[in-house]
Symmetry: C2
Subunit: 313 residues, 2 copies
């Protein structure tokens, strides 16, 4: 079912804690850790130029599985981000890998960029899903996740968002890497999610530095969550990780404390899972109504059950 245009939605992903596992092979590199995928996410629309898809609609006997790639011979397409011309390295690499450099790509998101929501990974994975469909490339889901993961890791903009975003829910990355290499589990849960973004943090800078202490703290947090895969434990482990890895920024620390105070004062006696910092961004997120209760004016969404997917239009 070839089509010249296709659209994918990929949930945002806030990492609660992680350990970094670099490797020469980008399919093997990645991170262990856990986070929350969000119904707020990234929509990617891909249009293939005329002539880039060689299977004419209605050709019953067109040989399947054989794709010439005239699209690659054409001019490079245009990428827009929320309507403005722009470029995302990992998206370019995905298009090159799928022989779809002629694609026009429109990336749209309400999420803040560079604030720990995995927007670059989501754009890469959305581009992979939509370009595969628009150019009729015939890749499987694992192929596409692998391509997007490798592009994201290769650009140094993320290590674990793509595989988490492909799964949806509350993904736990047991082993790092792309499908066939890494291993995932999940915390079974549905919940309201609130967040406030105070600004950017450079993923490249943190991941490019010494990650020894960070990874030790991430490994400890993962052990805690594996022993008790519940949301309150996820949030407790996330708070401990941010402190131990020395990543906590002051606006986020203040917000976490405010959520805790408001919960202690609440009539329900303080059983809220509280707030934590999104890795890596100057962003605080909470499960439930913690940030509203503490007087913030957060964005509100939910845990996304589905993960990355093609959508109609």
């Amino acid at each position: 079912m070839s089509s010249q245009r296709a659209t994918a939605f990929v949930p945002g992903h806030v990492t609660a804690f992680f350990s970094a596992h670099p490797a020469d092979d980008p399919a093997v590199a990645g991170s262990r850790g856990a986070g929350v995928t969000l119904t707020d996410g990234v929509t990617v629309r891909v249009s293939a130029p005329e002539g880039a898809v060689d299977a004419p609609e209605g050709a019953v006997d067109a040989p399947e599985g054989t794709v010439d790639a005239p699209g690659s011979a054409g001019d490079a397409g245009e990428t827009t981000i929320d309507g403005e011309a722009g470029s995302i390295g990992a998206v370019d690499d995905v298009l090159a890998e799928l022989d779809a450099l002629g694609a026009d790509v429109a990336v749209e998101t309400d999420l803040p960029i560079g604030a720990g929501f995995g927007v670059s990974g989501a754009a890469a994975l959305g581009a992979a899903l939509a370009a595969n469909e628009a150019f009729d490339r015939g890749c499987s889901e694992n192929d596409l996740v692998r391509i997007a993961h490798a592009a994201e890791v290769g650009r140094g903009t993320g290590l674990g968002d793509v595989v988490a975003q492909a799964r949806g829910g509350v993904p736990v990355r047991l082993e790092p890497g792309a499908p066939g290499v890494g291993e995932l589990d999940g915390v079974p849960a549905t919940a309201r999610v609130e967040y406030v973004a105070f600004g950017e943090l450079s993923t490249e800078e943190v991941l490019g530095g010494d990650t020894t202490a960070l990874s030790a703290a991430g490994a400890e947090a993962l052990d805690r969550l594996r022993a008790d895969p519940r949301l309150p434990t996820l949030m407790n482990a996330a708070r401990a990780f941010a402190r131990d890895a020395d990543l906590l920024v002051s606006e986020v620390e203040t917000a976490i404390e405010a959520v805790e105070s408001a919960d202690d004062e609440g009539t329900e006696g303080g059983d809220d899972p509280g707030a934590a910092m999104a890795m890596l961004g100057r962003t605080v997120f909470a499960l439930g109504t913690g940030l509203s209760d503490a007087g913030y004016d957060p964005e509100v969404c939910r845990i996304d059950a589905a993960g990355a997917r093609l959508v109609d239009r």
Copy 2:
């Protein structure tokens, strides 16, 4: 976040083709193959009796990860299926495994039972997700899928529905078995699905007989789909499998031919992926509008992107 009640939704799953891989260990047993998960599915509501959940709400310092199980000492709960008292073996086994035999379980579905939609697997997986939440058992998603898969395999009512239903989309079972043993991929796709159920076929009878020819046909179909993971190839491989495995029943054969004729006569020149038989049921399903176009009055739903999930209420 313990709660005394919880609800899960699990998509229906029609298997397009499969090979059977029995084993003594039910987590290792399973099937290879592929199918389609449906937005029509099974809703399972679980209520824990008073006193069965030992973590009182609001107890901040309740030790996490330690669960006594007074629920298991109580009376057995009641199970209803679409409002009528009933029982599903795999559901009982899931409740026993989660020490939740006191649960009241309400299974609701619009899908026909015994007609190839994986209702028993969906009920088992939904019971696992909802009972874990209602009884605050603290299992991970992989744990719960493993428990439901083992229950379904142990009862002989299915081999691959549970892992497919947990994933959602168009699951491809590359290796048989529960999470940690089996391996999955997917065909990236969204589509309208139509189906007509003509009646039951006994899964136990087919799986209990000689499955050599069936499994050879299933392995061939899987090879075709892996070489070209697209929906039309899935449907072609499914039709070949039903013939080669000698499972095609006459009402379904007639419907598949009617869909093909209607497509050939259509103005768009016959590029529809057509219809196939749901394994194992006297059921025909089509992607797109094939059955409507051929004059049938099918049920209509879509491919379910999300897979099994907890839902509010």
